[in-house]
Amino acid sequence: MNFNLDSQSRTSGAMRAGVAGVLALLVACEAADRSTVASDGPGNRQPPTGERRCLHYNPERQPLFGDLHVHTVYSLDANTQGTILTPHDAYRFALGERLGIQPYSAQGTALRHTQIARPLDFAATTDHAELFGEVEICTNPDYLEYNAPECVFYREFPDQSFIVFNLAAVGLPELPQFPVPDDAPVIADQPVVGSDGRIPRLPYCGVDGTTCLEAAKTPWRDTQAAAEAFYDRSDGCEFTTFVAYEWTGAPASNNLHRNVIFANEVVPELPPAYQEFPSPEVLWRELSSVCRPEDGCEYLTIPHNSNLSAGTMFETRDRFGAPYTAEFAASRRVNEPLAEIYQHKGQSECLGTMGAGAQDELCGFELLPYNNLTGDRFMGFNTGPPMEQDFLREALKEGLLLEAQLGENPFKYGFIGSSDTHIATPGNVLENDFPGHGGAGMAAGDSVPAGLTDVVEASPGGLAVVWAEQNTRESLFAAMLRREVYATSGLRPIVRFFGGWNLPQDMCAGGNFAAQGYAGGVPMGGDLSAAPGSAAPRFAVSALRDPGAPGEPAQALQRIQIIKGWLENGEKHEAVFEVAGDPDNGAGVDVDSCETSGSGFASLCAVWEDQTFDPAQHAFYYARVVDNPSCRWHAQQCAAAAVDCANPDSVPAEFQGCCDQDFPKVIQERAWTSPIWYRPQP
């Protein structure tokens, strides 16, 4: 989901609190739903047995690269911007096929083409479920409602309908429709008078939205058909797809979006959407009832762009304003083991402004300057500067705090990256050939606009990497549940990370790193066992640079860091440790030519012991692998156009972004591993 907007503030806390008292009882019931199904939690889940054996099967696991956030023609905000590629096309692209992308000429010829040199190992299309049916009806003359006023508006004014449709469906609902008197009966926590806890769909959707819901089945079935057609069920196991969609809740433009990934082809008849299920916990409750393990259906949800939630993604209260209970915390942990740490709309790792020890200069990477989806529309009205609590490092620390209080950690997230492409090009995430993400609310044109290919703050996005035995849905999904995954900022470095009490000190000496890691500890995403006496935990991290590919240059590695977050006397702390490589290796890049200089490392390895470890403190550790500096995408386009910021009069309007000092021209590509957690024994 993209930048949508609105013009009012969020529902008042008082109103929510009023509702809270009435319905607080419900919370415990729904929170328990799924945690009872998988009471052992994803972290303990073992790889599936009895599935087919691929030719490339590796019991010590292998890193598989993919993109789990892809929009196609079925997403309204992609379609209104000229995207006509389908999930089938998206999968072709992921496999390395060259695709024509928007804009198109009047005869329907694509004016641009794009391609990745290295196919992905897996992908999932995640179109917005909310407007599936609405888009289908307005773009298919088969429907009687094709000529409904809303649809005529949709086709004639894509710019405006992007805003109106999004507001009506996913942005507006939590805004009071008009002042609600204190004693008015509020049927649910949604103060939309007349609703039954649902958000009304547009009039052409008919009574209870049935027409749109029925129409939604067509794109949803095609999504499934594409996933089936492109899933390699041969022993070659070259490509895996997942049936998936995006649940697109953004009350008042504050982003709560979740991608919902299904484990296999057994999926609900319709994807539960925000209008009918307007909060994450209601979504999980619905998913757990329409996607049951006993029917062969399994799912997980992945929140993204917490950086744009204006403090709401990791709220420590439920939708009624009640504090977390242990059951509710467990429900969240079980339902969403992963979070997207980086994509087109920036990183959600850290802001680096709050908490003891927070002084991480690398938090400035791809940091969006606002805190919700409104972005810089309306000169900053309805948004503000980014908030620390919207970033995963802070959420992870908050999770430790809740774990100390409740015995359950609701924010136990592994990290993936993805693109959030709105032009149906999964894995098209490199700085040097960024066609724009196509989701910033710009209308479809029939010529390629001059200048930068996107707003300057947008990013090409990242990749999800999964350590799995083989490239199958079963193996990948199991790895995602146990969080043995990491994120990259678009390149393909290889990173292994283990933590344990018995890891050999000489793990970097050339022995079998993986075998030693699994034998003496747990991989990324895991939990350290109970502390044996006074020992300190040891962490081993090994990384290989991305060698790049023709047309896809990559820099050498510069360093590896381990980031620790912990609780001390009930306070949240963090620290960044340099464990390998050299931050002062002198590598650099000339932003005028984008020529890089200096040397780096093809591989790095470190075994690090936490000397400050206290067995009574809750803690997590993750590794960050940082490349030598290179030119950001906009710097490359500015250099190619020979933009001279020293001579402002010479800079064309469409290249003004080149001279915006707020956006550094140099970046350091990176990878973030999922954390390893430690909790004291009670």
Partner: protein, 312 residues
């Protein structure tokens, strides 16, 4: 006398039998008209000067300029295809068999005359007489799409053999290796190679480094090896004598000592994806073929200033 005649006329006008007769004649005339329209070849596909002006105006609106003659020609051909499909859909009676079209036409007729007491069947016949299928965009679109689907589905119905599973034979390579980094000097790797040859693979090898991708690789295709390790390394693995340590070999990451396992010849079933691609290609071909046949069946007239036959 005049008064008598007037009374007779009034009486006749009140006579239901006469109403029935008149209505019948009207319907007969209407259906005759439809019959004429449905005779192939007799009703030419006519692209009027007004059509061309509309296409040009639409182009101007979309592109902000007038179309070139080639661009306009493309648009005209597209319009001809649409009209051919519509005409053919009507000839095949798809308008009578499709629920959506029927509903739409009936709704239109009731909209035109809200007081009408005519039955659905009568309204449908009148709609046909008015050639409403051509003027209503929903009906038109629906009929064209229905016929397209029908033609395309004939592609899968008549030719199953070509859709059989597509399989491909490939070599797959498996190997074990040790990694010595990008800065290693090849000459210094001899001691490690000697140890590996002597079966001391589990020992600490001088100069060895961890390799995050692991030590063993199974079932790799040549393309996979190329992408990950580079073509030099791939070629070395392909040429290796299985079971023996050799090297050093340079990859994208640095220097390796390698022992290849016997390569496997495997047959990969491209299955659903290949079938889907083949099916899509066949459907496109069928549709193109069908359009060609339709063009031969109908007379096509394009008015360009004055009425001229379009050479096809």
């Amino acid at each position: 006398m005049l008064a008598q005649l007037a009374r007779l006329v009034r009486m006749l006008l009140r006579e239901p039998l006469l109403h029935f007769g008149l209505l019948g004649m009207l319907l007969y005339a209407a259906s005759a008209l439809v019959q004429i329209q449905r005779l192939p070849g007799t009703q030419p596909i006519r692209i009027s000067q007004a059509d061309i002006e509309q296409l040009t105006a639409q182009w101007r609106r979309d592109a902000g300029r007038a179309p070139t003659s080639a661009e306009l020609e493309g648009r005209i051909q597209g319009l001809i295809d649409q009209r051919l499909l519509l005409q053919e859909a009507l000839r095949r009676g798809l308008d009578r068999s499709d629920g959506v079209v029927r509903q739409r036409l009936i709704r239109n007729m009731r909209f035109i005359d809200p007081q009408t007491t005519a039955t659905d069947a009568e309204l449908l016949r009148m709609a046909r007489a008015l050639n409403m299928a051509a003027s209503d965009p929903v009906v038109r679109g629906r009929l064209i799409q229905r016929l397209q689907h029908r033609i395309e589905s004939a592609a899968s119905a008549t030719d199953g053999t070509i859709l059989a599973a597509a399989t491909e034979a490939q070599w797959r390579y498996s190997f074990e290796h040790r990694y010595f980094g990008s800065g290693a000097r090849p000459a210094n790797l001899q001691p490690a190679l000697t140890m590996l040859e002597a079966g001391q693979g589990t020992a600490q090898l001088p100069g060895a480094q961890p390799f995050a991708l692991g030590r063993t690789f199974a079932g790799q295709s040549a393309a996979q090896l190329n992408r990950r390790f580079g073509s030099t390394f791939r070629a070395a693995v392909q040429a290796a004598e299985p079971g023996h340590w050799f090297g050093p070999v340079l990859s994208n990451y640095g220097w390796h000592l390698v022992r290849a396992l016997p390569p496997q010849r495997v047959v990969i079933d491209r299955g659903p994806r290949r079938r889907q691609e083949l099916q899509a290609a066949r459907e496109r071909a069928y549709l193109a073929q069908a359009m060609q046949a339709l063009r031969a069946e109908y007379r096509i007239v394009v008015e360009a200033g004055e009425l001229t036959e379009l050479s096809l």
